[in-house]
């Protein structure tokens, strides 16, 4: 299995084998140590002078006190990401579908229960977020912090070689 970890970190495993190794990494402490050692060796060979730095245990301890991230988010396939029109159409379709479901539940049941209350308050929403070139994923991830701490946008985006 160690050899598979070696191949995995080199990007030389097929999808099914890679997923099997990732599953094993989840379960096997010794295998995670191997992952750690091999990456350290790679960094050292590339001359990283901070080879001794290791925050894994500290970060892991902090994460243990953090609320677990339970936000499954289906990653947009490349075809959708690169075609804003497609994403927009999907967003529109999702919005219409949602509104239709809410309206049907409200009118059909005439209920004053929870769903009826939801229908009373329903507003059109976009269930799928349309992607545009103007959106910066970093700022999407840090809008709250940016607002609170008055962070000025600093672009470290696409690099000097482009």
């Amino acid at each position: 299995m160690k050899e598979s970890v070696s191949s995995l970190m080199d990007g030389e495993l097929g999808r099914s084998d890679a997923e099997q190794v990732l599953l094993s990494l989840k379960e096997d402490d010794a295998l995670r140590t191997t992952w750690h050692e091999y990456h350290l060796i790679g960094d050292a060979l590339r001359g990283n002078r901070l080879a001794a730095l290791d925050v894994t245990r500290r970060v892991s301890a902090r994460l243990a006190t953090e609320p677990t991230v339970l936000a499954p988010r289906r990653w947009l396939p490349h075809t959708v990401r690169s075609h804003p029109r497609t994403a927009g159409a999907l967003a529109l379709a999702a919005s219409v579908s949602f509104a239709a479901v809410v309206a049907w539940q409200s009118l059909g049941n005439g209920s004053t229960g929870a769903m009826g209350m939801m229908a009373d308050r329903a507003v059109p929403v976009s269930a799928v977020h349309a992607v545009s070139d103007s959106e910066d994923p970093y700022f999407l991830a840090h809008q709250e912090m940016a607002a609170e701490q008055d962070i000025v946008k600093v672009s470290y985006g696409n690099g000097a070689r482009r």
Binding site: E3, S6, L8, M9, G11, E12, G14, R15, A18, L22, K26, R32, T34, W35, H36, E37, Y38, H39, L40, I41, G42, D43, A44, L45, R46, G47, N48, R49, L50, A51, A52, L53, D54, V55, T56, V59, S60, R62, L63, T68, V69, A71, P72, R73, W75, L76, R81, V131, P137, Y138, A141, H142, M145, I151, V154, Y156, G159, A160, R161, R162
Partner: protein, 199 residues
């Protein structure tokens, strides 16, 4: 599965609540991130603290990461802003302003021009690790040394290494693994000693 695909898999697992998947990303990127942050933060302990904080912020923001950029590009942006916030909170300025990045979000390697800002203990440990790894590589049989060097330092794929070394891909796979194991065997005593140190 490419390197980016592996990161995506790990992020998706972390997004589903698998914290150990995020640990693997920390293990993979911590030194690359800290090298970047060392361009902004001078003190070695501060670099460690900022690196840790950057990973915590990344974890908290993980639900909003949608894979539109590579994970490490996203992580590096968080790291840089964490460093800037750290310096601002402490009334300091980055000690070096001339950062230039490539498309991967990494700065040019100008370590030879950097002042020696490490503490003696940190510097000693860094030297011990680098020295042990380099010495272990020197002791490897030539075919293992060539394979691991072409992979780690030149970034060649197994197919390219097989072509250079005129051997099957399976042999390349095996040689790289054996090289890593041989180096790791010499490194482990040092890492065991370092476990109780801060660095």
């Amino acid at each position: 599965m490419s390197d980016r695909d592996i990161d995506q898999q790990l992020v998706e697992r972390a997004q589903r609540g698998e914290k150990r998947a995020f640990d693997l990303l920390v293990s993979k990127y911590q030194r690359r991130l800290s090298r970047l942050l060392s361009r902004f933060v001078r003190d070695s302990h501060d670099i460690e603290d900022v690196t840790q904080e950057a990973f915590i912020k990344a974890y908290r923001a993980l639900s909003s990461f949608r894979g539109e950029s590579a994970f490490y590009t996203w992580l590096y942006r968080i790291g840089i802003n964490t460093a800037k916030n750290f310096l601002s909170a402490n009334g300091r300025r980055p000690f070096m302003q001339s950062e230039v990045e490539d498309e991967d979000g990494e700065t040019f390697d100008m370590t030879s021009q950097l002042p020696d800002y490490h503490t003696p203990e940190t510097e000693l440990m860094n030297k011990e690790i680098l020295g042990t790894v380099n010495a272990a590589v020197e002791r490897l049989p030539e075919e293992l040394r060539t394979a691991i060097t072409l992979r780690e330092m030149d970034g060649l794929s197994y197919e390219e290494i097989a072509s250079v070394m005129d051997c099957p891909i399976g042999t390349v796979r095996s040689r790289i693994f054996r090289a890593r194991e041989a180096i790791a065997a010499e490194l482990r005593p040092l890492l065991d000693t370092a476990k109780n140190r801060r660095w």
